[in-house]
């Protein structure tokens, strides 16, 4: 009798405990990255200085897209890191900033007295942000030379992450894999 109860309990509660145990390891607020390996959607946006920029213009070299805003403190923290890497890898990697849910004037004022080496784009109605599954800032996307999204960095992008991913993407370019 006792063995029957134990067996029935294991059959009934086993899957439940398994499902719960699997769920406990996940952050319920973390938005999954489902675009890995998929083609980055092309866009045409206007930069803060009025120039029209298309993602497809940079086909053939890795692209780093950084979504940021002036109301986001971590975004300010990573600004100098991105500028430094843009300076270092400027000719081989294209950096793009996309202002996320913020006023163009506020972004211009913020960048006025700061180093700004790459295009900063306006995203009306967060259209591109939604196309890339952005759920908050900062978020950075690493796109290879073939135009595939390889990595999404949710949160501040560190120098180590940039070095690791840019080396990977540039190695693919030099070996011909990324072309």
């Amino acid at each position: 009798m006792n063995w029957k109860i134990i067996l029935i309990s294991v059959i009934l509660f086993g899957p439940l405990f398994w499902a719960l145990a699997a769920g406990f390891g996940n952050d319920p607020h973390a938005v999954p990255f489902v675009l890995e390996g998929k083609k980055a959607q092309d866009f045409q946006l206007t930069s803060l200085d009025g120039k029209v920029v298309r993602l497809s213009d940079f086909r053939g070299k890795p692209v780093v897209i950084n979504f940021w805003s002036t109301w986001c403190e971590p975004c300010k923290a990573e600004h100098d890191v991105l500028q430094h890497f843009s300076k270092t890898y400027g000719t081989t990697v294209q950096f793009l900033g996309i202002v996320y849910q913020d006023q163009a004037e506020a972004a211009r004022a913020y960048l006025k007295n700061r180093l700004n080496l790459f295009p900063q784009l306006q995203d009306p109605n967060t259209r591109v942000g939604l196309d890339y599954g952005v759920s908050g800032v900062p978020e950075s996307f690493f796109i290879d030379a073939k135009g595939r999204i390889r990595h999404k960095q949710a949160g501040v992008v560190t120098p180590q992450i940039l070095v690791d991913w840019l080396r990977t993407l540039l190695t693919e370019v030099s070996s011909g894999e990324g072309q």
């Binding site: 489902v34 939604l130 759920s135 908050g136």
Partner: protein, 166 residues
């Protein structure tokens, strides 16, 4: 002096009217930006199914967050483009995964979420009936024996039993 007072009064009246006009313009601009949706609107129905990424378990249709509003705007755009309800939902799943759905799809491992609650309910009801059935005669027997069986060791209890049974 009189001219000065009249001048000040006129200035006040003109500036307050201008301010009112400004408020009205601002209000009208805000009203024109607001989209009023009813439960019959497809965009609202879709918005009820999608989770707001920056809220706590709230559908985007009912969230005032800017992110949710942007998603609602995209839903309206896709609907205007002729996309069906399922196609619009698929657009968001392709970008945010099934995480974006407030109600998981009834497929694969998700079936557990749908199947387990009724199974547990049935098992629970069965266990409860079984417990009641097996304990009822025992409990009544215990009561009968407690009243009828004499305890010769305790005179006080015996007198209580006599009083109860009499």
């Amino acid at each position: 002096m009189r001219i000065f007072i009249v001048g000040i009064t006129l200035l006040f009246v003109v500036s307050s009217n201008a301010a009112k006009r400004g408020e009205k313009d601002l209000f009208e601009n805000r009203v024109s930006d607001v989209v009023i949706e009813t439960p019959k609107d497809v965009s609202y129905q879709v918005g009820l199914l999608l989770r707001c990424p920056v809220c706590q378990g709230m559908p985007i249709a009912e969230s005032p967050a800017e992110m949710a509003q942007s998603m609602m705007t995209r839903i309206r755009e896709l609907h205007k483009e002729g996309k069906s309800k399922d196609e619009i939902i698929e657009y968001f799943i392709e970008r945010y995964g099934e995480w974006v759905l407030l109600e998981p799809k009834a497929e694969g491992i998700n079936w557990l979420v749908w199947i387990m609650p009724p199974i547990f309910l049935l098992v629970g009801i069965g266990a409860l009936f079984s417990y009641i059935k097996s304990n009822k005669p025992r409990a009544s027997r215990r009561l009968d024996s407690a009243i009828s069986e004499p305890d010769s060791d305790d005179e006080y209890l015996q007198s209580v039993r006599d009083d109860v049974l009499s």
